[in-house]
């Protein structure tokens, strides 16, 4: 995807023109939409499953190690 963003393939091509814009514009519009899918995959691979993690991180067991009283009582811990 990083290579595709440089758009060397369509740089000099004008047609087909759609909605007053050359194909290059739509190439990158599609690229932006496709980025959502790619980012979903990237974050799926890298990002911990929050529902579990939040409960474990900010649940009662973790409170004793925390400084201050920010989380005590009034904040929603691990809830959506």
């Amino acid at each position: 995807m990083v290579v595709l963003h440089f758009n060397v393939w369509l740089a000099a091509r004008v047609g087909p023109i759609f909605f007053g814009m050359p194909v290059l514009f739509w190439y990158h519009a599609l690229f932006a939409v496709a980025s959502v899918g790619v980012l979903w995959l990237v974050f799926h691979a890298l990002w911990p499953e929050e529902a579990q993690e939040e409960r474990r991180l900010f649940g009662p067991a973790a409170l004793s190690t925390r400084r201050g009283s920010v989380r005590e009582g009034k904040e929603e811990v691990g809830q959506e």
Binding site: A12, I17, F19, A32, F43, H44, L46, Q52
Partner: protein, 512 residues
């Protein structure tokens, strides 16, 4: 007063009234604690969180700079910028997620506090504070100037610069001091709606007013054929392409006003959703801006300088009804103010917590009061500065991107590299900022068309790595932070981790 000006005034008054009302409502649910005032109790979520970050990220560049550049350089500028912005920039939110975990764990509020603790160094904290503030202040002033000029230009002098700038300053000052983070998040939500609605109304209205889409397409093809292809020279050559890839790809995380909004999120899930769908929001905003800039080159040729920057508003003023022009003024004010409020709140936040409270702990009980006083004082100062002729102020604000990029290595190193230490961080900040400032004053020649950001990022990164490796590690400081990430990743490993569980993982994954 013409009908057009009347529409503009009525629209602006209604818009300001809404902002003030939202500020007042949010004030009622904002307590005097730093959690409540500066972080909205860490409860920003869903659309409000998205708008708070996206609205702050979208500056007048989208309404003025991008269509203005497209007007002259054609679609190549879009092709050059959109790639890193939609694909790489959202990954910055993942970096913010790592900070969010630790910030919640230890009750950190600002990036200055976060990195001061990470590196166990007062000097790192002070340097970070100085450069965060130094590069943020010009942004706020340009917001005030932009608001004043918008009124002056749109109303053709009926509301002069001084009054327009004062109105913008007062309204932003009110809802920022009254509602704090919650006030700015709510107003940002409305502001994002306003500028998106205007862009889409213009997107639909301009082709209709120009005689239909087919006629417009013919005119674009005939009048500006060179703007329809991407050129690999000048402002869209290889040098600027590489430079902007690095700049736009890395910069979001280094903005303190974005960083604070990320750690104000209610949950990591909200951050993840925002990061995933960020490209769609960019597309919906930048796409219309580029389209209108290109159409403007065919419909209103011959504009130069700041005239071409205002091409969207020139199109709205000449081709569309008065109420659309009024919506355009609101859209521009919304874009300017949605960034300005976050920046001013962040400056207040850092000054109050990282300087006043940190060095005078006895004042900690009155943080919200100090925060509000600081906002008022700072806005008054910046309003006064906006009258001083500062020809290069906009250049400085633009260049601030490069200044912020010099802070990226020590920020990323602090959250990913266990070995990272304060010596590397201090050296990296100093080298990065020296190279950035030298670049601004053109003290070294551009090579291969590469912009200063390339040298700033390269040299500050090399400095960070080399100095860190040559000096002793800070095992205890690093462990305090990495233990949080280790615990989370062990308890709830992401997909890429599940195949090879970390050695000594405390618990198996129980997902699915």
């Amino acid at each position: 007063v013409s009908v057009r000006v009347l529409f503009l005034l009525v629209g602006a008054v209604a818009y300001f009234a809404l902002m003030v009302t939202l500020g007042r409502i949010s004030q009622r649910t904002t307590e005097g604690t730093k959690q409540s005032y500066f972080l909205a109790d860490r409860r920003l979520s869903g659309l409000v969180l998205f708008a708070a970050v996206f609205g702050t990220n979208m500056t007048a560049f989208v309404m003025l700079g991008l269509p203005g550049v497209t007007y002259h350089a054609g679609v190549g500028m879009w092709a050059m910028l959109i790639g890193p912005v939609v694909l790489i920039l959202p990954i910055n939110i993942y970096f913010g997620y790592r900070c969010w975990l630790v910030a919640r764990e230890y009750d950190y509020t600002t990036p200055v506090e976060f990195y001061r603790e990470r590196y166990q160094s007062e000097l790192v904290g002070l340097l970070a504070f100085v450069f965060f503030v130094l590069w943020t202040i010009p942004y706020v002033i340009t917001g005030i100037i932009g608001g004043g000029r918008a009124f002056d230009t749109f109303t053709r002098g009926a509301i002069p610069f001084w009054l327009g700038a004062l109105l913008v300053t007062l309204v932003v000052g009110y809802y920022t001091t009254a509602g704090g983070m919650k006030g700015t998040a709510w107003t940002n939500t409305a502001q994002v709606v306003f500028f998106l609605v205007f862009l889409f109304v213009a997107l639909v209205g301009v082709p209709i007013a120009a005689g239909g889409l087919e006629a417009l397409t013919d005119q674009v093809t005939r009048e500006v054929p060179g703007a329809l292809t991407r050129r690999w020279n000048g402002p869209t050559g290889w040098g600027p392409t590489i430079s902007n890839f690095l700049l736009f790809g890395s910069i979001l995380f280094a903005f303190p006003f974005i960083w604070i909004r990320l750690v104000s999120a209610r949950s990591g899930r909200d951050l993840r959703k925002m990061a995933t769908f960020y490209p769609v929001a960019i597309l919906l905003t930048w796409g219309p801006a580029v389209l209108l800039g290109l159409w403007g080159a065919a419909l209103l040729p011959g504009l130069e300088g700041t005239e071409s920057d205002a091409i969207i508003f020139a199109l709205a003023g000449q081709l569309l009804p008065a109420w659309v022009a009024s919506l355009g003024l609101i859209g521009l004010l919304a874009m300017v103010m949605s960034s300005m409020d976050a920046q001013i709140l962040t400056l207040s936040n850092m000054f109050t917590l990282d300087i006043v409270t940190h060095y005078r702990p006895r004042m900690a009980q009155r943080t919200a009061t100090f925060g509000r006083l600081f906002v008022v004082g700072l806005l008054a100062f910046m309003y006064a500065v906006s009258f001083i002729p500062l020809p290069r102020l906009f250049d400085i604000a633009t260049f601030a991107f490069t200044g912020f990029s010099g802070l990226v290595p020590f920020m990323l190193g602090g959250i990913f590299w266990r070995r990272a230490n304060k010596h590397g961080a201090i050296a990296s900040i100093i080298v990065g900022q020296v190279v950035a400032v030298a670049g601004f004053f053109e003290l070294y020649p551009p090579a291969f068309g590469l912009q200063p950001v390339v040298w700033v990022l390269t040299l500050s990164t090399i400095t960070f790595v080399v100095v860190t490796l040559l000096t002793p590690p800070q095992i205890e400081a690093a462990e305090k932070f990495h233990s949080v990430w280790d615990r989370v990743w062990a308890a709830s490993p992401p997909a890429a981790w599940r195949r090879k569980p970390a050695a000594g993982a405390a618990e198996p994954a129980v997902i699915d």
